[in-house]
Symmetry: C2
């Protein structure tokens, strides 16, 4: 391995794809977001990073809520669509069938197999983006995406964004069990 220094403006790791929902100016709006992550286990907190110029940010702050909706591979085109046009220019409230949960202000997408309803708990201001940290107050799915009552990623069939290639990919074949295959590495004496 000959390490060389490369540019820092083309960060490459499998970025999960979501549609973030927010109520803005009284209407549901949905934004494609690949910069998100769980950030706290108990209570469950999820973080989304949005450029400050996005239309959704105002609604998230005003209502103190947002949703994270996980789309299936079959929804890749409409997911991409929501990232191409701003809610400032186009009313995206009818692109999906929407529903509301406990908070009443975080629109969620019926077509997405998995939905997280989030109450804003903290905002972190960064140079270009702002982080919205939300407590997941409820999660929603449909029986056909569950196995023994819990979400089954094989059934949800999500996709990731490959950067800087700008390509969506499905999830590949299993390569091992987490918290398990490392034990064989120990046995090998690694």
């Amino acid at each position: 391995m000959e390490k060389i220094e490369i540019n820092t403006d083309a960060i490459s790791y499998p970025m999960p794809c979501s549609l973030v929902g927010a109520k803005v100016d009284g209407k549901a709006n949905f934004l494609t977001v690949a910069w998100f992550s769980m950030v706290n286990s108990k209570p469950p907190y999820i973080m989304i990073a949005l450029g400050k110029t996005h239309y959704s940010n105002k609604g998230i702050k005003e209502n103190g809520s947002f949703s994270v909706n996980i789309p299936s591979v079959s929804m890749a085109d409409v997911t991409d669509y929501c990232g191409l046009v701003s809610g400032r220019k186009l009313d995206k409230s009818r692109v999906f069938e929407t529903f509301f949960g406990k908070l009443g202000t975080a629109p969620m997408i019926k077509e997405c197999p998995y939905n997280l309803e989030c109450k804003l708990v903290q905002t972190v201001d960064l140079p270009v983006d702002e982080l919205f940290i939300g407590e997941i107050v409820a999660a929603y799915s449909d029986n056909r995406f569950l196995t023994n009552g819990i979400p089954d990623m094989a059934k949800i069939d999500p996709f990731i964004l490959s950067m800087p290639q700008t390509t969506f990919h499905g999830i590949g074949t299993p390569v091992g069990r987490a918290w398990q295959i490392g034990k064989s590495f120990i046995k090998k004496g690694g």
Copy 2:
């Protein structure tokens, strides 16, 4: 789609897998981390979320630096291994061949095809976890993982963690071009 409310303690989306490097008590330590995300575009900032009890946290704070190393599918077992044993109990400094970059305090993994060297810019305290936001001051790879000088995810061959199934998966087949396939959705009049 019949939406039902499900438990919030089994969050399911494709989580990218990394090995976070930090110098702790004078030695390199590496921790398996699936809760990370880009959070700012210019300058490039990346965020990692670590439980407060982890051994690495002290080193990250003391040195003001950490690294994010992306392992290949072929490294799934050793990646899992680093998540099974704490640096408090086991010296992980010799598990990999390490190298240092500009900062001199963020150990990186030679065997990983892609390495991000990060300078800590902000810490966010949450109930169980803490977020370390780092500016990516340098990125490293090897020519065989690059195409036209930029990282190529197909060559890096990273993997994701599927929760709550606790399974690692490779990246699947391409399903379309981002910022492109949404245009055909527009044409369909969606």
